[in-house]
Amino acid sequence: MTPSVRLQEMIRVIRSARTQGEERGIIQRECADIRAQFRQGDNGERSHSLAKLLYVHMLGYPAHFGQMECVRLIASPRYNEKRMGYLGAMMLLDEKQDASLLITNSIKNDLSHSSQYVQSLALCTLACMGSAEMCRDLASEIERLLRASNSYIKKKATLCAVHIIRKVPELAELFIPSARSLLSEKNHGVLHGAVVLITELCERNPDTLDQFRKAVPELVQIMKGLVTSSYSPEHNVAGISDPFLQVRILRLLRILGHNNDTASDAMNDLLAQVATNTDSSKTAGSAVLYETVLTIMDINSESGLRVLAVNILGRFLLNNDRNIRYISMTSLQKIVQTDHNAVQRHRGTIVDCLKDQDTSVKRRALELSLALVSAVNIRSMMKELLIFLSTCPLELRSQTASGIFNAAERYSPSKRWHIDTILHVLTTAGGDVRDETVPNLIQLISTASELHCYTVHKLYRALVKDISQQSLVQVACWCIGEYGDLLLKGECEEIEPVQVSEDDVLEALETVLQSHMSSPATRGFALTATMKLSTRITDNVDRIRSIVSIYGSCIDLELQQRAVEYNALFKKYDHMRAAVLERMPVIDKNSPGHTNGDTSGEIKEPDTSKPKPVEAGLLSEPVSQVCDLLDLLGGTDTPLQPNPAPTSTSTATSSADLLDLLGGLEPTPVPSVTVYEKNGLSLKMQCDKQTETDITVTLIASNSTQSDITNFTLQAAVPKSVQLQMKAPSGNVIPAHGLGQVTQTILLNNPNKVSLKMRVRVSYSNQGAVHQDTVQIDSFPSPAWNGQPSISPL
């Protein structure tokens, strides 16, 4: 009986088991049987037992005790047993097992066996599970077989060589000469293997790539033969002659022609011919056409050919077969970087694919749509993307949300649109957005000062409707806290006015505080917002007081701490409450306080009670008063306006360390440096009030000539990203003999921290003559280390 019958018996028995437990029992008995069989030694039944074991292994039960049996069977002289042994080796052994080394010798012997089928068994096993050591030992054997006369063996040896090269790349040189000669084979199987081998060699080593470029004409010949040949029934698949080989050759041509003009020229005709002659009604033709398109896009082809390729892709996009649409979108993804305009033409179709039922197609369409967003089409694309977000499958949501945010950040036409878009995303998919969204959005809102009223109204309404989306609730709470007074005023030209009373607002915040759905971070936001409102509303301060004191005994440590501190603000430090809870300054995007934060609004909290920017000399008393209060509060009496006066913005956000701030308060006197001296006019520069991005420069002009300088004007120019604000000069007449000076202050804001240069043009009249001169100041002293600025007169 052949092994199959015994196997069939066992399979029948296993299948008749009605429960999992019964099946396990049967299999255990069978395995015990098999083990006993193996111990018995050779009696002609071993291969049957191994076959049964392999079936059991496929079902998922442990089968490692069969490994040594495989080794023994491989060494047997009978073909049946060898075959079963090799199959077992492929399924049970791998390079990590020691048993695999034991079969190396058997494989070596079998590679020189007289029967080609035994040789093929050995080759197959080596290619499937050959370890690096085995490959090294047997590489020369394989190379010999590559030159054998039998095409069956040659074909298998070729693929085995590919496996060897993958395992042991150093052996690649061994196979190069034979690979070259294999290209002249007629047998398609061998040819196919040869092309795979050459592809592998070229991918690994650029020198080999150069060598094989000479083979391009030969490959082109073979392809031409395939494309124009008459119907041959053996290799025909749906009307195309051996599409598998065609696809392989096209892929190899792609690698050989990449970045190489001579090779690309040789291929142009062929590619045009294939592209126009191939019938794409069936999958086989489409496969060849698709590979041709990829090759055309990747080599240095002429532009006519490229246009042809993109058109073919466009045709694929409209095809009814979903597979082809999926494939064409994959390839469009690859070329959207280089041929952006060509792909833009198909934007409509791609956006339609977003509505396809198939998730794979949707995913591809989403990636492609995000890549196609540009400043021109942002509004229409965003509409489509937002519709998609509300209907898309769950696994694509977070990708869509982050893609929308990126696109909005890069191309938003207006701040209001940007804020609207983000709000829309938060209401639809708030649970899937990334963590940085909340601080980013808050920063965006705070910079759009004209939209504060509109934003806070919108957020309030969204909050009232639904408090489950944490990101949205956090942002809404922050805004209500900051701009609560605008909310209560009720009027806002952009949306219909709705009267919101203080009770409503406090009600909303209390709901957030008490709801189960709010995370601890959200509660923190809500509590602080409630506190901030105490300075912005008039009637319900007691209510706020009571809320705050309730949370003073909250179990959550963070909330309790905050509540206790706010309580203290109410009781002991009531005179400072207004100052501490003032509007926050515009947050600078690059400042450490902004980027350090995680979403748990904890960073936000210290910010509000942070020491407000301290002007020189104003600190002493208030600071010492509050220094003992938990190191967090250090207010001043000077209220802060949101208008970014460059001197005051940055200090609030730049340091989290109180000591640092105290240290930086004494302004170190900055020496003035002469930047221009000519014809009696001297210009001195003094840089003070420096922070990371802002510098206040004072130019002092003095006159040492005999007569007064009149009509003195200064003009200054700075690099593009730097903002310049010139204050009014103290005058435009400089008295003679150094008796007086004209000073002019220039405020520089350097957000991108480019190297600062300034060109100053002076023009004045002296003794009736008009003078004009320009001086360029190349470097400015850095904050604490007052280096001399470098000057170059022009």
């Binding site: 089928y117 074909k155 298998k156 794979s360």
Partner: protein, 193 residues
């Protein structure tokens, strides 16, 4: 490179599993289960390509599958293989099975697992496509089967007798030959060859 070839039925029971990269036995079973989950959720008229599951390499690997009656044929490949080409390869594989088993059905795959492995070994070797010409594959498979039978010895006598009867040109053929507990389905043969 082809990472794995899996055949399982509509309930997820594996009928053939061949891995061309090494995984532990547990991982192999998990991969089969995970692939089944991914593939069975698919509708009938969506495309045949899927991103690979996490265990088998995530989004760098694709699952290309075809659903025939009660069986899913799934090939897990990486980006170096042409997706449409693999679809065609699955078709060629199934047609070859059909020729070798004569109107193949799931039961054939269940009871002749080793033969299916041998056929597959003629088509895909070490994760690479070896031969796509159906007649070539079938010739080789039949030659090897003959070799096996010739070695079978005395124990193979009943099987040899049956195949001898099969090859006889009789005008009338019984539908079923029952010898002991072997039941062999007799195929329809043309009367003159």
């Amino acid at each position: 490179m082809i990472k794995a070839i899996l055949i399982f039925n509509n309930h997820g029971k594996p009928r053939l599993s061949k891995f061309y990269e090494h995984y532990t036995e547990d991982t192999e079973q998990q991969i089969i289960r995970e692939t089944f989950h991914l593939v069975s959720k698919r509708d009938e008229n969506v495309c045949n390509f899927l991103e690979g599951g996490l265990l088998i390499g995530g989004s760098e690997n694709k699952l290309i599958y075809r659903h025939y009656a009660t069986l899913y044929f799934v090939f897990c490949v990486d980006s170096s293989e042409s997706e449409l080409g693999i679809l065609d390869l699955i078709q060629v594989f199934v047609e070859t099975l059909d020729k070798c088993f004569e109107n193949v059905c799931e039961l054939d795959l269940i009871f002749h697992m080793d033969k299916v492995h041998n056929i597959l070994a003629e088509m895909v070797m070490g994760g690479m496509v070896l031969e796509t010409n159906m007649s070539e594959i079938i010739t080789q498979v039949e030659a090897q089967t003959k070799m096996e039978k010739s070695e079978a010895g005395i124990a193979g006598a009943p099987a040899r007798a049956v195949s001898a009867v099969k090859n006889m040109n009789l005008p009338e053929m019984p539908k079923n030959i029952n010898i002991g507990d072997i039941s062999i389905k007799v195929p329809n043969l043309p009367s003159f060859k």
